[in-house]
Amino acid sequence: MKTIRLRKKWRAGRGGTVREKLRQSPLVDTETVMRSARELSTTSRISTEDMFDWLSGANAPVLEIFSPGEEPKLFPLSGEEVTIGRDQSNRLPIPFPNVSRRHARVIFQDEEYRLEDLDSTNGTFVNGIRIKRCVLRNNDQIRIGSVRMVFAYQRIARAEK
């Protein structure tokens, strides 16, 4: 089996938090990942635990959020529905006046993340096009009111920062 060389940053232990999150996530088949980690760790000097983090952390989806006057934020997506809107009751509240109370939602359906506009006043845009629904792809740029987001697949470790 080919030995995988990992960059130093991925060798660092990630602690239990990541693992717990991943176990809760419908995206990750924990058993498969653990089995892969055990196999791979026999050919490298990396512990099964660290390998687990490395394997399962790949391709974790996040929304990178850029709100006016605020530091960029990362919002990890776990497969659960995420409503986005001005109201604090939304899973992802973005309190700006040009955002509707319940503006849009991100759902995980048929193994894909989808963005759906909830009949908002000012619309939901993907790469500049006003959409009703859209399957999300890596690096898609979303605009909701004056808030911009990027849908991206990243390592969970980065999302935790």
Partner: protein, 297 residues
């Protein structure tokens, strides 16, 4: 696509945007690898444009609405493989109680029903068309305008494509959608095309698309690719964009992506053309049609 959209929104969904042949794989994931299929919903009227491989996913979604009787209308631009190959995999066609009306050109030497049946001949496909349990009607269009539910359909034959094709304009209240794929606009709207017949074809095309809220148009090639593909029946992007802008189209979806165009190539082309036309034609929103995208007009 739901069985019936709950309100009066006009919804357009791209199920397949690729031209010529399906192109699955990671390199075409963003814009999609399925061949042409677009659905249009207006109230309880559902129209499908073309039955390329994208219609399979539409069928899977429609099949989830069990217990509801579906009434579907399929408008075919023509019967080249990439526009009909998904039909044998369209699940609602095998469901009793579903009504499917298929429409296509009457100007062909062979009957439309015969062409579609032959595609499911045992030499090409294991299941005969008679296995389709839906109430299937195949109609050769006899009138340039007709109604489907609350939609008015206007159609016109296109000549600059091998074997011909049909373009459709759907009127939903005051909204207009034009589906005009598989046409070589460069053959009559490109540089130096000024003969009377070319001018007439250009006039007909511009008149047909004028003021459309959405034009789904053939833009398979870049301008540098087109000279080596003359006569293949497809348009270059700049000629399509310029025609849409001249005709004051509000949204242009560049469609029928070349199978050789990966996501990164399409992104690069898009960047190139968006820069060129952004300032000169700000009133026409131009984008690359993308599988899995629904627009509300």
């Amino acid at each position: 696509m739901s069985a019936h959209s709950s309100n009066e929104q006009l919804l357009v969904t791209f199920w397949g945007t690729r031209g010529s042949i399906s192109t699955p794989g990671a390199r075409t994931q963003k814009y999609g690898g399925n061949t042409p299929c677009v659905s249009v919903e207006y109230g309880n009227t559902s129209v499908i444009l073309d039955a390329g491989t994208g219609i399979r996913n539409l069928g899977i979604e429609l099949a989830q609405h069990k217990g509801e009787s579906l009434s579907l209308h399929l408008l075919l631009s023509h019967t080249h493989w990439d526009h009909i190959q998904g039909l044998p995999f369209f699940m609602p066609a095998y469901r009793r109680g579903t009504r499917i009306a298929i429409y296509g050109s009457s100007k062909k030497k062979t009957f439309l029903a015969s062409v579609l049946r032959k595609q499911m001949d045992v030499n090409y496909f294991p299941v005969d068309m008679s296995a389709m349990a839906a109430d299937l009607s195949i109609n050769e269009i006899s009138s340039p305008a007709f109604r489907i539910g609350r939609l008015k359909v206007v159609c016109q034959e296109q000549v600059c494509h091998p074997g011909g094709s049909v373009r459709y304009r759907l009127h939903a209240g005051r909204k207009r959608i034009v589906y005009a794929t598989d046409v070589e606009l460069d053959a009559f709207m490109g540089r130096g095309k000024t003969s009377p017949s070319e001018r007439r074809l250009a006039r007909d095309y511009l008149s047909f698309i004028r003021g459309a809220d959405l034009l789904i148009g053939d833009g398979q090639y870049s301008e540098s690719e087109y000279p080596t593909r003359i006569g293949w029946g497809h348009s270059s992007m700049p000629v399509l964009i310029e025609a849409a802008c001249r005709a004051k189209v509000r949204k242009l979806a560049i469609f029928h992506h070349d199978p050789q165009h990966t996501d990164s190539i399409l992104d690069r082309l898009w960047d190139q053309y968006a820069r060129r036309y952004k300032n000169t034609h700000p009133k026409t929103a131009i984008f690359l049609a993308r599988e899995g995208m629904t627009l509300a007009l």
